[in-house]
Amino acid sequence: MYEFKMPALGAEMTEGTLLEWKVKEGDEVKAHDIIALIDTDKAAIEAESFRGGIVEKLLVKPGEKVPVGTVLAHIRDGEEERAKISPRARKLAEKKDVDLSQIKGTGPEGSIVEADIEKTAPAKTDHRESMKKAIAAAMAKSKREIPHYYLSCSIDCSKALQWLEAYNRERPVSERILFAALQARAVAAALKKHPEFNGYFVNGEFQPKESVHMGFAISLRGGGLIAPALLDADKLSLEETMKNLSDLVARTREGKLRDREMSDPTITITNLGDLGVDAVFGVIYPPQVALLGFGKIGENQAISMTLSADHRVTNGLSGSRFLNTIKQLLEDPEKWL
């Protein structure tokens, strides 16, 4: 028996609301199938099952807020069993986004009929307000507890832009690479040499993380900003980085993030160049220990890069070396790509 529990989607998260089941009792699920929609303060997240099997029991109803770690469902091996439901009721349930597993049927032999669906309405949540509050709390905690220091340098992007232009010229639009992907690759590569910027400060000590899960600040249409992770950014090729980043941005804006993408960022990149900003002096997302801000590419093809880092973990010397490594990589991409 596998217990599907309320995941922790970030260090600050202590409880979450089950918004919707994507499965019903009796459904067969495979490992990594999306089975529930969980509401955090920041966004609705698609949560996946880590094991395959049959959904035996859904223990929590949509709309219920429960602590992290609460068992939400039991999943066991076995044959598929289906709830009795009329085809019209099933169609209506799909249309109205109603979770069938939570409905007690009133039709013949307990089957679910249209009237049962009509009686149930899914809970709707305004994420914008709760997101604002969650970000405000995280940023206040960051400024209160993290002794930030800032280092900035200018990067000559002329060779990188030339390299990208030549790369993109020979490829169809579906395979083109943006400068943001190059930045991500360079930062991921630099973190291998400077692991003290990749991890969490928890319980009074730094915990370095093996993999680089790179948080990207992504603006949401209609307001809001969220920084989900490009998972395993250190293991991706440039092409994979671009593909996964593009997918991450699209899913963030569609509200289809996965739980790990919210809970696991180990460092964050904020790129406000598209908005015409010269330089970014960002606030670190706790419990992370560093954030890199990028401004716009100027007329001289230079870009400003700023490191915000936690002085309890690193200092100006290690910060300068980290920035220099990224600078060297971005100023001469042919050497390492």
């Binding site: 232009e165 993109n168 010229r169 169809p172 639009v173 579906s174 083109r176 943006l178 400068f179 943001a180 603006s219 249409r221 209609g222 980043l245 593009s246 941005v249 699209a250 598209d274 908005l275």
Partner: protein
Amino acid sequence: MKKSREEIRQVVLGVLHRIAPEADLDELDPDALLQEEIELDSMDFLRFVQEIDKELKRDIPESDYTRISTLNGCLDYLSS
């Protein structure tokens, strides 16, 4: 068969609507920069070019991006 300017306009507006569903495209100034007018970032703009390629079979090279930076620019370019 070659599409008319109006047909192309409908395709372009449809793509923009999918990328920026909150934007009021009826109020879009056809000569204003799309990136500023409906806040397209570089990822949105790449998606815009990709969707145009899918729908109109026009693979627009990067060197021509400046020519499609406004709605009218797009229509001129894609009608040519």
